[in-house]
Symmetry: C2
Subunit: 192 residues, 2 copies
């Protein structure tokens, strides 16, 4: 998605070997026009998939996901992050390990909001090591749903997330695919 | 806002004396059409205020706030919640006490995203005791900005938030104003 790649080149900040800071337009300050365009693009790519619900994880997934859900005319559900859990029968839960923070968090979705047999589209801001998407997949599977794919705003193709999801035959649509950081600059994969 | 009041009557769940659960359309599952209508309504009410940025707090504020920012054609900034803080010069911070959870959290906004002299519109999902809005006000004041008002999706007028904000001459626009819960039912204030 050219608009997004241009924005990353203009406003993204490379930190160290593998971190891209996009807090000027995606995950602290948010550009609503860009989020709308992103949502419409995801909706377009998954238009034939008869999506019943969009699922994301708080907080950075919410803005792109709510515009995707709007364009698809379906509800959005955002999984809640919790440090610790008290097990109940009302929720689906999954562990999400953060390589950045080196800690395990949990994500939780109320059983009322993900029903057996539904077709679920996952949305997230980043695909790096794939742990957040894997957590959503675990919940979607536990709920007896079909995951039609994962819409990712920014993928870092040099990390393990893509392989992890390919192994489970999950369709991925990533709007910006970063191959490498070279001397503080972003190098994109060629568009498919 | 009639559409919102109808939705609260239909899907809101009163719990105990003072809690309204709206997780079917606002803060766990999200109705994107309703959020769009809410954003357009806030933008309409604050249309003459020359808003520079919309400020909210993660996570439940993001969906209504991003549609408000879209309609006003300005950026959204969402404050991050933190359990603990390491003080730096890069951020504005404020304490937010939660009466429900009986704990103090912190909210944090990068100084790049709220600039002296700007006109800021605050958005949040609930106004109850007013602590989250007060935290945003503290940050906006520390940053040397002018707060043009607070757009609230659901206000519980029987709690202290309104008085707290009135005392500071903050304009409040609340789209649903709840006067009381009677026998598990919601009673609204008459529309102004």
């Amino acid at each position: 998605m050219q608009l997004l790649e241009q924005r990353i080149q203009k406003n993204g900040k490379v930190i160290g070997e593998d971190v891209l800071k996009v807090d000027t337009f995606l995950n602290h300050q948010v550009d609503p026009q860009l989020m709308q365009a992103i949502g419409q693009e995801f909706a377009h790519r998954f238009a034939d998939e008869k999506v019943d619900r969009v699922l994301t994880v708080e907080s950075s997934g919410i803005a792109p996901a709510v515009f995707t859900a709007l364009a698809l005319n379906v509800p959005l559900v955002f999984a809640r992050k919790k440090k610790s859990l008290t097990l109940t029968d009302d929720n689906y839960q999954a562990d999400v390990y953060s390589f950045t923070k080196q800690e395990t968090n949990h994500i939780i979705v109320d059983k009322r909001f993900i029903q057996p047999g539904e077709r679920i589209l996952l949305i997230d801001d980043f695909l790096a090591n794939g742990q957040a998407v894997q957590g959503m997949l675990d919940i979607a599977k536990a709920a007896g749903t079909t995951v039609v794919g994962a819409g990712i705003v920014i993928e870092k193709t040099f990390q393990r997330g893509r392989t992890l999801l390919d192994d489970q035959q999950v369709r991925i649509e990533a709007l910006a695919r970063i191959k490498a950081f070279e001397n503080g600059h972003v190098v994109f994969e060629p568009e498919a």
